[in-house]
Amino acid sequence: MNTRMRGYLRSDGRKGIRNVVAVAYLVECAHHVGRKIVEAFDENEVHLIGFPGCFPNSYAQEMMEKLTTHPNVGAVLLLSLGCESFNKYKLSDVIGASGRPVHTLTIQNDGGTRQTIETGRDWVASQIEMLAQAQTVSLELDELVIGTVCGGSDGTSGLTGNPAVGRAFDRLVDAGAICIFEETGELIGCEEIMASRAATPELADELRASIAKAARYYAKLGYGSFAPGNADGGLTTIEEKSMGAYAKSGRSTISGLIKPGTIPPKGGLYLMDVVPDGEVRFGFPNISDNAEIVEMIASGCHLTLFVTGRGSVVGSAISPVIKICANPDTYRKLADDMDINAGRILEGSASLDDIGEEILDAIIGLASGNVSRSEALGHREFILTYKSFEPAGPSCLPG
């Protein structure tokens, strides 16, 4: 069944389902030049990512290292203004050590806006030509890393889309894939049932602690991870939203708790702890859905399953997004943006297992050369902001 899946083999043994040139600006001051370089190319081949800040941040540095060495990335152009704090030398070394072509342009030294755009486009064009020659190898389900997020949730998300993703996750974990779910701030209230699924008692404690941290963090900020549209859609409280979001995790044993950027060591189900450690700094943990997707990709996700009720339309740079629409009314309004109509479950024309199967088929399709709806529509959103994390304790990844 999986023989159609093809991947690009990288030097670390991972395989990509895409082979894109990443153009990465290292401060907002280089963003415009990056945008101009990218707009000259096919949006499937060249993706723009970047970090806007001028202050140093080890989380952002690590995220950019993980993103630019993601298996879906074949070559990287770094764009520096010249005076920012981002350590472009270290980033370039990490990318080079991964065997990928990497080139850095520094606007202050490379002739300003116009000349840097021209030089950048020439370099990207040469890389596209080279990447077009790349051979693919066969790819199996146990080599995939799949993430899931939900956004624009409503009262249908927890009834259809999220539990259907849970069914797909159960099958993927059984097949040996790595599956990651996240947003500890949207699991508030689920800590005890989640802890009961942990691989070890020590991990159960870590899971509880991660949710307690999220509850403290959001309480201090004064807002839960809950938007007015959630309430319009029938969700009343964060714990109600959490119960629905939690259903995405399915029924597998939880094998570990990871921080953003950690690539899980082996097949299984993992929770990503997205809430920063220590004092509340830098504001809200993930300011919008794409911040979550970017963290999933940094942890190696080949693609992200995105469940929406109200109707999110976003995609992502680097790794495709599969849009699963939980609400049948929303599906009718936004069918062109949606890959899967999980709302059929409420209308009685499909079961959770049917939609779980459709999700699995969509994953295999995307790894076989199909494009998702958000990819076809040109969605390549990207956002990365400041955070700080402590290293995870040994109990977080048992055995």
Binding site: G155, T156, I188, I193, A215, G222, Y223, P228, A231, T236
Partner: protein, 101 residues
């Protein structure tokens, strides 16, 4: 007997979920009670399956999703006007053209 447009998610729940939008004034059967829906119910919204007293936990998916802030009668819309989170306050934007949705 309960109207098939309302979904019971777990045996102990004290709320039911609308599986489609239901118009204001619709007559609904809820486990032996006959009620007229006081407000239009959007898809995914909740109504009380049992009387819920102020301070009582609201149960959905078999789990507490917050506490009632007023006495809620069978068939009444359960939402931000009569229940609250036990964790963080729910943030909504006031819209003059709508009541509770």
């Amino acid at each position: 007997m309960t109207d098939s447009r309302l979904l019971l998610l777990a045996p102990d729940d004290n709320v039911l979920v609308a599986r489609q939008s239901i118009d204001q004034g619709t007559i609904l059967e809820i486990e032996g009670h006959t009620i007229a829906l006081a407000v239009a119910l959007g898809i995914g919204h909740k109504v009380a399956r049992k009387p819920i007293s102020s301070g009582e936990k609201v149960l959905k998916y078999g789990a507490p999703i917050g506490s009632a802030t007023a006495l809620i009668a069978v068939g009444e819309h359960v939402h931000i006007h009569n229940m609250q989170s036990d964790y963080t306050t729910t943030h909504v934007i006031e819209r003059p053209d709508r009541a509770h949705s």
